[in-house]
């Protein structure tokens, strides 16, 4: 069992007072807080090792290079990838999707199809829309049913030999939905030759992810949502796929040989990492992986499940609160909420006066908000440093705020 009180001590931000209250941070879906271990590791690199990676023939550069490249191996173990060369560093999940859409879609034919779901984050919609327009591809969306889960029959209807990409969220940042990835992958592989991409932005920070077991082809990960710094993310992909793909960004460090009229590419992973990479951020991400693995991802997942159960009961008891949350037995600890007659931004501004930090808006899931006829919701997300008390504070702050607002 996770001891939240001990974990909280590692996160200096919880010493802050907000409007005279202790900080109740429930916006980890947007970004997670950082433990001292991550902050110190990054500061240590700047103080003691800093030099550009892959280039120098001196001690500092060799130290940073080895720290940076070690993170690839750490991440390989973290998600059980086949090979550490399959780990490509990006600046975040969004860049991951843009990298994949730009590199993969140019080889498709006019009329080929991309399947997404109705509840995707804009990061897993817009890059595909841009590629679809450029290469005349079609995008289809798997319906989300009234229990906020994917309609598997609809997926079956959409799949065909024209399907080239299926890209689906692993844990919804709006409803906490956890699609059955293995089931989806087996349907996809049975009815098409499509590449399966998993959006791991919310999934990887909270649950055990084993890419070999899931049978997926690519996984996009955001570093700052899993205790790491901003400006770093990972795309994992099968080595044979990376090998067959062209790079998207050109520049230093991604080449083998350069002539005035042509160039050849370096091997993966470096083929996809042009220019000086955010190596200090990557090393920070490595410290975040260590931190999570020290607790163990099984424990992190169990904590998310327990907290979700508690929060669900607590929030469901608030009069007039509409909750957009997966009705499945398992879901992430993410609750998007609305109240008839009170605006989400008013509620979140009022919650802030109690020291409660939640997000208000469409959380980059505008089409699904529109489908539900909601302008905006306010969203609470729990993570390893949150406990029952945080959701008690949230619930009573919501009730008090509504008294003022309604």
């Amino acid at each position: 069992m996770i001891k939240v009180t001990n974990i909280k001590k590692d996160f200096p931000i919880f010493e802050r007072q907000i409007n005279g209250n202790k900080l109740t941070y429930l916006d980890s879906g947007a970004t997670s807080q950082k433990p001292n271990q991550v902050i110190d590791e990054m500061s240590d690199v700047y103080k003691n090792n800093n030099a550009n990676v892959h280039r120098g023939t001196y001690v500092l550069s060799s130290e940073t290079t080895s720290k940076y490249e070690n993170v690839r191996s750490k991440f390989q173990k973290f998600i059980n990838a086949y090979d550490s060369d399959e780990i490509i560093f990006t600046k975040g999940c969004t860049e991951g999707f843009n990298l994949l859409s730009n590199s993969l879609c140019k080889d498709f034919s006019e009329g080929d199809e991309i399947i997404l779901s109705e509840i995707e984050h804009h990061a897993n919609i817009i890059p595909w829309q841009m590629a679809a327009e450029k290469y005349k591809l079609k995008i289809k969306y798997i319906k989300v049913d009234e229990s906020y889960n994917l309609d598997m029959n609809h997926l079956e209807e959409l799949l065909s030999s024209k399907t080239k990409i299926v890209s689906i969220v692993g844990e919804s940042n709006m409803s906490g939905m956890l699609p059955n990835i293995k089931e989806i992958v087996s349907s996809v592989k049975l009815k098409s030759d499509a590449i399966f991409i998993l959006d791991g932005a919310q999934l990887v920070p909270h649950r055990v992810v084993d890419v070999q077991d899931l049978g997926i082809d690519f996984l996009c990960v955001s570093g700052h949502k899993m205790l790491g710094p901003t400006g770093i993310g990972v795309v994992w992909g099968r080595k044979e796929l990376w090998d067959s793909m062209d790079p998207v960004y050109g520049g230093g460090d991604m080449i083998e040989e350069v002539h005035y009229d042509k160039a050849t590419w370096a091997q993966v992973p470096h083929k996809f990492e042009a220019g000086t990479p955010p190596f200090v951020e990557a090393i920070g991400l490595g410290a975040a992986v260590d931190y999570l693995q020290n607790i163990s991802m099984t424990e992190v997942q169990q904590h998310s499940d327990n907290l979700r159960e508690y929060a669900k009961n607590k929030l469901e008891n608030i009069d007039g609160l509409n909750i957009v949350h997966s009705l499945s037995k398992n879901a992430g600890c993410t609750f998007s909420m609305s109240v008839d007659g009170a605006h989400a931004t008013d509620i979140s501004l009022m919650l802030d006066t109690y020291g409660v930090a939640v997000r208000a808006g469409h959380h980059c899931v505008q089409p699904f908000h529109r489908k539900l006829n909601l302008d905006a919701t306010f969203r609470a997300t729990g993570y390893i440093y949150n406990n029952e008390e945080d959701f008690d504070t949230l619930a009573s702050a919501i009730e008090d705020s509504l008294k003022i607002l309604k």
Binding site: N19, G20, A342, H343, A344, T345, D346, L349, M350, D352, T353, Y354, A360, G361, D375, A376, I404, L405
Partner: protein, 137 residues
């Protein structure tokens, strides 16, 4: 009353409330007692871009002076835009355009008046200034 005097008056009122929650409650009261906003004006032309909630600001010119009608679907934003509209209403476009007063600095309204560019209050003030500048050309 000049823009500066109105700002000073609101500043005094807001200072009575020691914490953000009471300041928000004051804005909510202003919103609740503001005059009705005609439905037909709730159109894109009058929508203020860059606010987290929907905000409308409608200018009207009467006897060389500008007047503003305003609304929002959120109460705190509505209170804020009501207050801003009343500060700049019944003023000459030239005076609005020339006014150097910085509401973001004058009012302590916590996160809703933080001096970030992508902020609702910033967009409201920019919209009012643009209306005034158009008439002073």
């Amino acid at each position: 009353m000049s823009i500066e005097d109105k700002v000073l008056r609101y500043k005094k009122t807001l200072n009575i409330f020691p914490n953000p929650q009471e300041k928000y409650q004051y804005l909510i009261e202003q919103a609740k007692k503001s005059e009705d906003f005609p439905d037909e004006l709730r159109i894109d032309e009058f929508k203020v871009n860059g606010c987290q909630s929907q905000v409308w600001l409608v200018p009207e010119e009467k006897d060389d002076r500008l007047f503003f009608k305003s609304d929002s679907d959120a109460l705190i934003a509505k209170g804020l835009v009501t207050l801003i509209a009343s500060i700049y209403s019944d003023e000459k476009p030239q005076d609005i355009a020339n006014s150097k007063i910085d509401l973001m600095e004058e009012f302590e309204l916590g996160v809703i008046l933080s001096p970030a560019r992508r902020n609702g209050a910033f967009s409201m003030l920019k919209t009012i200034r643009e209306f005034a500048l158009k008439l002073t050309d």
